[in-house]
């Protein structure tokens, strides 16, 4: 059964259609990347799925529950969101990650919450920074903090809005590895918007290409062809294979 079902989702501002009739399904254990030009509506799509923006029509279901029937808190227990260019308030890294437990906290954080936070800190190799101020972290480190916060939220679906856009090569790979590992480990799903096609090709199981506010294609790696790149990005490209990885080389 699919873990995330998007059905006929549309979103428009009063005078502008942003997304039109988008439908797709995501299975447990899958990393899906959303590809498309700037302004194609990728971020808006994620925000509609997470109810940060109210969709004009359509429906979204997580693990079989229609999101419109869930309270904000229940939704936050099922779906998490890593915002593009996360901004942190001035607290320790530990506290910043602890905030991911917010949907479960009744009166105050418990020992169990602390344990979960500590585990994620160890898993992501943030031990040395745990008690440092998160506002003093580098871009790569703070993106890992944002990921750790999503991981402790323990949701079925993680939405990530350009998690790698401001990172160096090493951090890009680390961040995407963390995402894929978490998806596999808990058999959940991640939907990621990305600009780096090669990174997307390397880490995703499925690809959702968006063009002119609609879905252009949705499927496995076979859907990424020179023709598709030309149609979606308007760029001539060649698909090659290097060291066992499929890569897109713009011509």
């Amino acid at each position: 059964m699919s873990i995330l079902t998007v059905n006929g989702l549309s979103f428009s501002y009063p005078s502008l259609d942003v997304i039109k009739d988008v439908s797709f399904e995501v299975m447990p254990g899958e990393v899906v990347s959303i590809l498309g030009m700037n302004g194609a509506g990728k971020s808006t799509l994620l925000k509609c799925i997470n109810r940060i923006l109210k969709m004009s029509s359509g429906s979204v279901a997580v693990s079989g529950c229609d999101i419109s029937s869930l309270s904000s808190r229940e939704l936050a227990q099922k779906m998490s969101f890593v915002i593009q260019g996360s901004r942190f308030s001035s607290t320790s890294v530990f506290d910043a990650i602890l905030l991911g437990r917010k949907p479960y906290i009744e009166w105050d954080a418990t020992k169990k919450d602390f344990e979960i936070v500590k585990d994620s800190i160890c898993r992501l190799g943030l031990e040395d920074y745990a008690l440092r101020n998160v506002t003093e972290m580098s871009g790569g480190e703070s993106q890992k903090v944002a990921l750790a916060r999503t991981i402790v939220q323990q949701t079925d679906v993680m939405l990530l809005d350009e998690p790698t856009s401001a990172l160096d090569l090493k951090n890009q790979l680390e961040v995407m590895n963390i995402v894929r590992e978490e998806v596999r480990r808990r058999n959940v799903a991640a939907v990621v918007t990305m600009h780096d096609l090669n990174l997307a090709l390397r880490f995703s199981d499925k690809f959702l290409m968006v063009k002119d506010r609609r879905i252009y294609s949705m499927g496995g790696i076979e859907t990424i062809t020179a023709g598709a790149i030309k149609d979606v990005y308007g760029v001539d490209a060649e698909i090659a294979e290097v060291g066992g990885h499929k890569v897109v080389v713009p011509l």
């Binding site: 997470n50 998490s80 001035s90 905030l99 991911g100 917010k102 031990e127 008690l131 939220q153």
Partner: protein, 358 residues
């Protein structure tokens, strides 16, 4: 941080330092309240103070302590805590380090409301050279409150149109504040001597004019808001990282922001209308504490309250001692101390790790 159980102990020790800061602030507030009891136009010895506190009687010392000084100390403590807490919540809700009752025009509106009551509705009369009294304090208070709420409503409405963008809110506050200040000036220009005297005297923030009944109202409002704000501490922490993150963590941000603003303004309105204008406490209390305990509202809210109490009491001490036996209005002292302190905070912030959010 260590990978075993000690890691959590390390975190708890880290948090323990914030708790220690709060305990130290408590001690400071306790010391200041003891000092405050001794300060006033009549000098009392420690023995006299202690015996007056232990045996409430009809003797002059006992009456000075029970009817003048203890209410004044309590007012300083509660009002300082309330204004600082209101500033803390406003700053976080509007994501604006400069937000506070005075910078959003809420205080100016309350002053206008009070002036309207005193001058137009004739709710005031001068009695003697130094004292003028408000003959109908509840009308003045009610009007001060009504106008501050009107301001909050206007600001929330104006900023909603711009999706709560921080600069637009402060600009709206400045605009609304200056309209009310102009209104106050016009009212005062056409007022007769008596009403003008009362109105001007009213606007000097003064703790000693607060009656026990009024103190009860201030305390109940402040305590109720404190409970609500503390319950919302995790929501505020989420909000401090941006509206979108807060919503993805299950926080109803619009409701949280709007209710927080209304309650913060309620505190301001009640305080200002019973005491007159007392500026800067709501700005510097939370700002100082952000540097000490960070932006974690589990600790920032109580720390801001205590810091506000401390600032207010220290200012009241200074107001009583500086030109003794003349007592300066405490509002003048908070602004006099608060202005430079705030400038220093601004300069520090500029070079520091974290800059203004806009």
């Amino acid at each position: 941080m260590k990978r075993d159980d000690e890691g959590i102990a390390q975190y708890e020790a880290h948090v323990g330092r914030k708790r220690l800061a709060i305990v130290l602030l408590l001690v400071l507030v306790a010391l200041l309240s003891i000092a405050e009891i001794f300060v006033g136009s009549v000098s009392l010895t420690a023995d006299q103070v202690i015996s007056a506190i232990m045996h409430r009687g009809d003797d002059p010392f006992s009456r000075i302590i029970w009817e003048q000084r203890m209410p004044r100390v309590a007012t300083a403590m509660v009002a300082g805590a309330g204004l600082s807490m209101a500033g803390c919540v406003m700053q976080n809700n509007l994501k604006n380090p400069l937000a506070s009752p005075s910078t959003l025009g809420v205080t100016n509106a309350a002053v206008f409301g009070a002036n309207f009551g005193i001058i137009i509705l004739g709710a005031g009369a001068a009695t003697g050279a130094y004292a003028s009294t408000v003959t109908n304090p509840y009308i003045v208070t009610l009007l001060a409150f009504a106008f501050s709420m009107l301001t909050v409503f206007l600001i929330v409405l104006l900023s909603k149109r711009t999706n709560f963008s921080p600069p637009s809110i402060v600009l709206a506050g400045v605009a609304v504040g200056s309209i009310f200040t102009a209104g106050t000036t016009i009212l005062q220009y056409f007022a007769n001597d008596t009403a003008l005297g009362t109105a001007v005297f009213w606007s000097f923030g003064d703790l000693s004019r607060v009656s026990v009944n009024e103190l009860t109202i201030i305390t109940v409002v402040t305590a109720a808001c404190a409970v609500y704000f503390y319950l919302m501490r995790w929501n505020y922490n989420a909000l401090a990282n941006g509206d979108e993150l807060a919503r993805s963590l299950g926080v109803d941000t619009s409701k949280l922001i709007a209710l927080g603003m209304v309650l913060a303004s309620l505190i301001t309105a009640v305080d200002v209308s019973f005491m007159g204008m007392i500026g800067f406490v709501g700005l510097i209390g939370p700002q100082m504490m952000r540097l000490v305990v960070g932006e974690d509202h589990r600790y920032l809210i109580p720390a801001s309250m205590l810091a506000g109490s401390a600032v207010m009491m220290a200012s009241d001490l200074a107001a009583n001692i500086a030109l003794s036996p003349i007592v300066i209005p405490v509002g003048a002292v908070t602004s006099l101390l608060g202005g430079p302190l705030f400038l220093w905070l601004l300069l520090r912030r500029r070079g520091g790790a974290r800059e203004c959010r806009y």
